[in-house]
Amino acid sequence: MDRTDPIIKLRGIDTRFGSHVVHEGLDLDVYRGEILGVVGGSGTGKSVLLREIVGLQKPSAGSIEVLGVDVRTAEEDERQALEARWGVMFQDGALFSSLNVRENVEVPMRRIETLDADTRAALADLKVSMVGLPYNAGDKFPSELSGGMRKRAGLARALSLDPEIVFLDEPTAGLDPIGAAEFDRLIHGLSRSLGLTVFLVTHDLDTLHATCDRIAVLAERKVLVTGTMQEMQNVHHPWVHEYFHGPRARAAQSSAAAPDRNGQE
């Protein structure tokens, strides 16, 4: 991880919905190659922040720079080039329901004109298999998949063009503990082998333990602290303390200490 080269740079982000202030003067850096976990209580605007970075929502003020491009002022072609360099996985996969899994993964590849249909299908099959789905899953439609498989397929689509950054919104929400642990390992393994930068929004303490290099805590309308899991233990903010020292945090910590739960091989 290169600390001098932030791949995502947020400065002075303000977000307001009417009189309701979500973010105020929020700053955040994400460095190349790291897995950053964003945590915060309900309603602190974690998902809103993710949506703002990928340009689905506009902040009221502030600058957002991704890979050196200002998302808010980028021209159309600049934005399109940028979109090919990031992938987003939405909470429930957000697969197109009229396409099967393989076709879903092929959708981003269609913008590459040199790719013929056979190669595209073969690459889509590779992506489907890389996220740990069985070979025959490619022919299935999203409605035939379980929640965990839909998330995996969503990740395969996000990885379709080998992006440099992957945004994950609650990757383990709604999964059973075994499925969630597998997904944690998958994210960690893929980010290391593909050199991905991962920006993930989560509630799941196990995910933070198993995958994240660094954690950013959203509270009081800004990024309160960032740091590793160890550093979080010594933060004396009531919410952060409660979050990282509550009974669930202790359980997650002890299970992360067990070697098989951790993502590292």
């Binding site: 040199t114 190669t119 298999s129 082998s193």
Partner: protein, 376 residues
């Protein structure tokens, strides 16, 4: 990082070994070219791939390399990869480990037996659907009987609400459409009857066709469109959010709470709507007859009363409860078939409308034959 710097593929052949040098960035945009160059490698000589000049490689390029390796190794030759840095090596390993094993599927041929089976299945499905509708009809009757025996369980507020939704709110559209149909019938009838100098019979034409058939049929089709879909959507979205299951666990009977007020409201309202359609249809016809043929409203009324038996109205109105039952039962049944996803809600809503309209028209045809046999 530069996005797509110049990339090169150099292939040379020395001492029976094929050397491949990849330099620059190899990504998905160049993978087609890369793959076709790699496919030109012969599989009767070893291959050495040099990646030391590589600046970037993505999974697509790694896939091309790994599949080529598989191809060469399948011909019992070696493909060695040299000069890969840690990142590229781990990428190659990941791709090689997750390379999907294609399963060859035997193409299925459709035989006559398969077609027969499909036919049988769809017939069976249709019969099952009819049985299910009959079941819902029975369920409605039994819950209605229960409501008669235990009036406290009957949901009067709900009934009134649905009467307003189904009946009162449909009055403008039903009245307007029936009026326009009356106008059209009178106009078309007048044009034809004038050829025989029998203009005055336009009154009989209007009276019989509207009172006997069109008034109630038109009303039922409009109601099938707006009410069957509303029933399906309301019950279906409750089914989707598990509200129906919650009702059952709380000891509430969905048939009692949801079906009875809705179907009963339709049973009460459809004859009234049909009557309104009859009246406005005749008014529209009378207006057109007056303008186009000069038949005064007074003459129209006299002829209407003298020439048209009240049986025509009875025959029309007798059908109303049957149509109401069909529409209500189909709407409620379709609502209960909704599954937990939004697509099925949309699919069932539109199929409820189609089924209801279809059922109404089929029932009308059956009635026509029936009354013709009775000589009415």
């Amino acid at each position: 990082m530069p996005r797509s710097p110049a990339h090169e593929i150099r292939i040379s052949d020395r001492d029976g070994v094929q050397y491949v040098v990849l330099s620059g960035a190899h990504t998905v945009s160049g993978v087609a070219a890369l793959l076709s160059r790699l496919n030109s490698l012969r599989d009767d000589a070893p291959v050495r791939v040099d990646l030391s000049e590589l600046s970037r490689m993505d999974t697509a390029a790694a896939w091309a390399l790994v599949t080529t390796q598989k191809r060469i190794e399948a011909a019992e030759q070696r493909l060695t990869i040299e000069g890969a840095d840690d990142g590229v090596q781990s990428l190659l390993d990941t791709v090689a480990n997750s390379l999907p094993e294609p399963q060859t599927e035997t193409p299925k041929t459709v035989t006559i037996a398969d077609r027969l089976e499909a036919l049988g299945r769809s017939l069976h499905g249709a019969l099952k659907f009819l049985a299910a509708l009959t079941g819902y009809f029975g369920l409605f009757l039994s819950r209605l009987a229960r409501a008669v025996r235990h009036p406290s369980e009957f949901r009067l507020t709900s009934l009134v609400h649905h009467c307003q939704e189904v009946g009162l709110r449909a009055v403008p559209i039903v009245a307007l459409l029936a009026f326009l149909i009356g106008v059209v019938l009178a106009f078309q009838g007048a044009t034809q009857l004038r050829q025989f100098g029998a203009e005055v019979y336009v009154v009989d034409l209007l009276a019989i066709s509207i009172l006997r058939e069109l008034g109630i049929l038109l009303t039922s089709i409009i109601v099938a469109g707006r009410t069957a879909s509303a029933f399906t959507a309301a019950i279906g979205s409750m089914k989707m959010r598990e509200e129906i299951d919650a009702m059952r666990t709380l000891g509430l009977d969905p048939a009692q709470v949801l079906f009875v007020p809705r179907i009963l409201a339709l049973l009460l309202m459809l004859p009234i709507l049909g009557l309104i359609a009859n009246v406005t249809g005749l008014v529209g016809g009378a207006l057109m007859a007056w303008i186009d043929l000069g038949i005064s409203p007074k003459l129209f009324v006299t002829r209407l009363i003298e020439d048209t038996s009240v049986d025509q109205l009875t025959i029309g109105m007798v059908k109303a409860p049957v149509f109401a039952m069909l529409i209500g039962v189909i709407g409620c049944h379709a609502g209960m078939q909704v599954k937990s996803n939004a697509e099925s809600l949309g699919a069932m809503t539109s199929s409820a409308v189609v089924q209801a309209i279809f059922a109404v028209i089929v029932a009308d045809a059956v009635f026509s034959v029936f009354f013709a046999q009775l000589g009415l």
